[in-house]
């Protein structure tokens, strides 16, 4: 059974592509045959974050238009045998994708035996974002603890509940919040919305909390998704989120300020 997961947010710059890349790597690492598709036609970026930008020959739009086969367009990840990337077109515009075209590609991927298809949505609520969510079984809504991001997430949750195939069939998409750029120290000072605040406002539990951390930028600089940096807090937080998506229960980590001990204060631990 193939599960289609959309990674979406409404607002741009909250960490959709960063999260898509890390979740895809995490699922592959957990042994799941995974493909991650960039739906941001015209503004391709997932390939950069995944570190395969120089190997893009054919893209998602080429497959939709029958200009390349799925096999030709799927880029095999160099780190995991069971992970593939389908890049967005850099030259076409968002109208290059159609509902029927997207459905056919998703069906063909399911026939190839993929366990998970991750759809990395573009920002906004236009056609690309709509197509990325339309066939989803599950949604990961990436949200920052910040007013405009929370409001846009509410809007996206409304669309997930009404404008998707599942909704039209009278079913419900499984929805998750993924809180990123979380800064426990600022929350403690009352400068930032807390996990509980965001959960209460949106009426939904978080599936993961990724702390704001320098490793996220370092990872995208090098094209190695941060989940592969096992020493980093952000990487471990993504690993936990993947485990929860796969049904495991794990306590939240990196959500409180670490109280430094006398020893580490003295010696800079």
């Amino acid at each position: 059974m193939t599960e289609i997961i959309v990674v979406t947010s409404g607002k741009g710059g909250v960490g959709k592509t960063t999260s898509s890349a890390s979740l895809a790597c995490g699922l592959a690492k957990a042994g799941k045959k995974t493909v991650v598709i960039d739906f941001d036609v015209g503004l391709r970026n997932l390939d950069l974050i995944m570190g395969c930008e120089r190997r893009v020959v054919y893209d998602f739009v080429n497959v939709v238009h029958g200009e390349a086969s799925l096999k030709q367009a799927l880029i095999k990840d160099k780190r995991f045998d069971n992970l593939f990337v389908l890049a967005a077109s850099q030259t076409r515009d968002k109208d290059a994708l159609t509902k029927e075209g997207v459905e056919k590609v998703l069906n063909d991927l399911a026939a190839e035996g993929f366990d998970f298809i991750l759809c990395d949505s573009p920002a906004g609520i236009e056609k690309g974002a709509f197509l990325a969510m339309y066939y989803a079984d599950r949604a990961v809504v990436v949200v920052n603890p910040e007013v405009s991001s929370v409001r846009d997430s509410d809007r996206i949750l409304g669309l997930l509940a009404s404008k998707t195939k599942k909704a039209e069939d009278g079913e419900r998409i499984i929805e998750h919040l993924l809180l990123t750029r979380y800064n426990p120290a600022r929350v403690e000072k009352g400068e930032m919305l807390s996990i509980a605040d965001v959960e209460e406002i949106l009426g939904l539990k978080v599936v993961g909390v990724v702390p704001e951390s320098p490793e996220v930028l370092q990872s995208s600089n090098s094209g190695n998704p941060v989940i592969l940096d096992e020493a980093s807090d952000a990487g471990q937080a993504y690993t936990d989120a993947v485990a929860r998506i796969l049904g495991e229960e794990r306590p939240m980590r990196f959500t409180t300020v670490e109280k430094k001990s006398f020893f580490s204060k003295m010696f800079g631990g």
Partner: protein
Amino acid sequence: MGLLRNLIEQLEKLDSKPSSASTAKNRLQILVSQSRRDASAPDYMPRLRSELLEVIKKYVQVNDEAVKVNFEKDKDGIQEVLDIQIALPDKN
């Protein structure tokens, strides 16, 4: 020393105005409840509102914000109520 600093921090907290995070939370809660109510309302609401406004304007001089139409469901979600409020201009 740590103890004293903690005590001062606690006292400062008692004294301070509401944090910006709690302001953000309150603002968002109002917005989200409003948008969820709008989302559950029938599609004809904006048209109904503008047509009502037209009719009222034939008889009374009111401004465009004078008509408020709210669609509400009771707790069980069975009884639906169309709550229409029309603010008439001041007499003087």
